[in-house]
Subunit: 421 residues, 2 copies
């Protein structure tokens, strides 16, 4: 490992090379990017034994560090998971190329022709934690959008990330694109992260992918703009006009399909009029499915519930736990979500179209759902292809962040010796 | 003046009230916003004597502080300028309302219907310098886009800004919209600016409008996202295939129409092959028009030029001064602009379509022009209506910032008890 004593110098060099590469990438042909990604997919498959061997070193390190079973599972690579990485690279390769597309065009009375043309953002910094597949996904999405990328993975996954990164470099070479287009920070030193957060000259936007600790650090320290990825403190409101079957289906899926993803439901708000009927049925079914229900009265009358504490509101469990409380009406539900939600994804279950419209109008989460599981909060399920994450901020990117959100635009103005009067 | 000792408390209160108002504004009807802006325009005209009297206090203060003639001119209000303010308010009122518009809509195989709907950004902080009309323009644009706004004008224009702000409040009252939708920071204390730059909870984006000092402060200190407004270090490249008449027209207009605006040309790059012909003609005409030309050899052979120093490259004069140098070819021009430009607006004059295409492809300024005066870099000239400024960053807003750039979007997802497999 190329550890170095001088992190600022290392990172400044990486940044300058990324900026340089980004200038070439900005006008790289669609074909060359496609060749690079396809060749990278081939390389991952051809090198699967090497990648799995590198991953074994990371797993050993993780065991030594005493990481949790869930963390180790996230870190682990096998042939199946590498097939997933390969599929994902191929699917990004197959996406349409957006760079250079004319988004809008119009003529002005002054005689000017104005085009708004899609451009790459420039240099993206991606700071992520243990999942090694992010190395491939983030690298591929940034490249597809014409950006150079600086990847800083979790220290636990460094060997795996390096092995996958080597395949991405093979892809770049095959397409005659600059290798500096996709750089991996070659050190475990955390100072590299702090350095990235201040590199306003060399990085245009930082995408953090990880838990509260990482996101908090990024939000406190970053001088570079960040695509905010707050927690998914996802709420579902069961309206008094909820359909009992849809309520059961949606809540069960939203909580239990996978508990560890950001679209998993964390809090259930139940209209008081249906607390003892639909609410009780849903809560009982969740408990039967092994979910711990932390509730306030009168929901505590339902067998198997436990009492919620004050700190159960606004909490992202990412586990088989759900907070639940009654509300007097839809506005109390909205007020609760405004106070405790994270603006990621929130859902109403109702047959009353005006209640749904009210919920959609008064709340401002990145994704609002009506009678649909919050686990659909995903770029793929939105038809956007792969995603680098879900943005909860309101600037530039919001919701799933795919290639389109990794682009900007510029204006091209054509005159004929035109002057302003 | 409501000066206060506790700036943090004052600003936190302003921020919380803005956030609150923004929640109501987010679903205010198009009609109510139009009524507010029209009533505000009426109020400005009806109160013109009061506004001009308030402005006299500011002018007196400015004289006492020994401000420059140019600053005092910017500060001054008369009936003509107030007519401009009124016209601008009416023109924003007449713009189409964007909030709530469905930007895109599609169905997924899962049965989900997905809409991308335009929303306000939330709360905008506008920090500006002496021009009192910005109070009306920025307030109107933010309101039209459904945002609450916190206005922090220059200390020199406080009386004028308060008088204009009072008219905006009359408009809000006439439309039954919350008065906290448009707040003016009521103190000259600069600590209020620093406070705004850190109010991540209450302000969604800061728009700085002003000179280098202000923009630098904002860029160094802001924790809140900023629509970067760097200087306009505007370059014009005269290609070897430039048309002599277009070259003369474009450069003369770009430099001399108004020297103090950000779209004014600051540096001329001349292809060596035409330096003694078209280049000399353009430079001589500029000198005859009173422009000081700071040049390097062989352009110093042209009568009336003076020698350029190293610090003349990358400089925003905002004055009757132009730097000029020869380049060997278009790529040297591009390299110069990459090194010294500010990514605002840059222009090529040429009859060679492939040279123009090369210039458009290789450079990444917010606005690139071909055979057109850079003084067209303006929201009005782009057909976007009033603008709050020109953004040189690449995130969210780029180029002229009008109402559209002051909005975000959210996803509305409709299912029928839909669950993810």
């Amino acid at each position: 490992m190329k550890d170095t004593d001088n992190i600022p110098a290392l990172m400044a060099d990486i940044g300058a090379r990324a900026r340089d590469a980004s200038r070439t990438l900005a006008f790289a042909s669609a074909e060359s990017k496609q060749i690079a990604l396809t060749a990278a997919a081939d390389a991952v498959w051809d090198s699967r034994a090497d990648i799995i061997a590198a991953n074994a070193l990371d797993l050993e390190y993780a065991h030594d560090k005493g990481l949790s079973g869930a963390m180790i599972d996230r870190l682990m690579l096998d042939e199946d998971r590498l097939q997933g990485v390969v599929d994902s690279l191929r699917s990004v390769a197959a996406q349409p190329d957006l760079v250079g597309a004319v988004i809008a065009e119009w003529d002005m009375p002054s005689g000017l022709n104005i085009q708004r043309v899609r451009t790459p953002l420039g240099v993206i910094g991606v700071i992520y934690e243990s999942r090694p597949n992010v190395t491939a996904d983030a690298g591929a999405l940034c490249l597809k959008a014409g950006n150079a990328v600086i990847l800083r993975g979790g220290s636990e996954s460094l060997h795996s990330a390096r092995a996958i990164h080597a395949c991405l470099l093979q892809g770049l070479r095959a397409a005659d694109l600059p290798e500096d287009a996709i750089q991996l920070v070659p050190t475990r030193d955390r100072a590299a992260v702090s350095e990235m957060l201040g590199m306003t000259e060399h990085i245009d936007v930082i995408v953090p992918r990880g838990g509260k600790g990482l996101v908090g650090l990024v939000q406190r320290e970053a001088r570079v703009p960040v695509f905010a990825h707050l927690e998914g403190i996802v709420h579902i409101y069961l309206d008094k006009s909820a359909d009992p079957v849809k309520a059961l289906d949606v809540v069960m899926n939203a909580k239990t399909r996978r508990t560890g993803i950001c679209g998993a439901a964390e809090c259930l708000l139940v209209h008081r009029d249906i607390a003892a009927s639909i609410g009780a049925d849903v809560i009982s079914a969740l408990i039967a499915a092994g979910v711990e229900l932390r509730v306030t009265p009168p929901l505590d009358a339902i067998a198997g519930t436990v009492a919620a504490g004050d700190d159960d509101w606004g909490r992202e469990y990412l586990d088989s736990i759900l907070a639940a409380r009654p509300v007097d009406d839809i506005d109390e539900a909205i007020a609760h979500i405004r106070r405790y939600g994270s603006g990621h994804t929130d859902c109403i279950v109702t047959e009353d179209a005006s209640a749904a419209a009210h919920f959609f109008e008064r709340l401002d989460s990145a994704i609002l759902m009506h009678n649909a599981s919050t686990q659909f909060a995903d770029g793929g399920e939105f038809g956007m292809g792969a995603e680098i994450g879900i943005a909860t901020g309101k600037l530039h990117a919001r919701g799933p962040v795919g290639t389109e959100q990794l682009t900007s635009f510029k204006y091209l103005v054509r005159g004929n010796g035109s002057v302003r009067g």
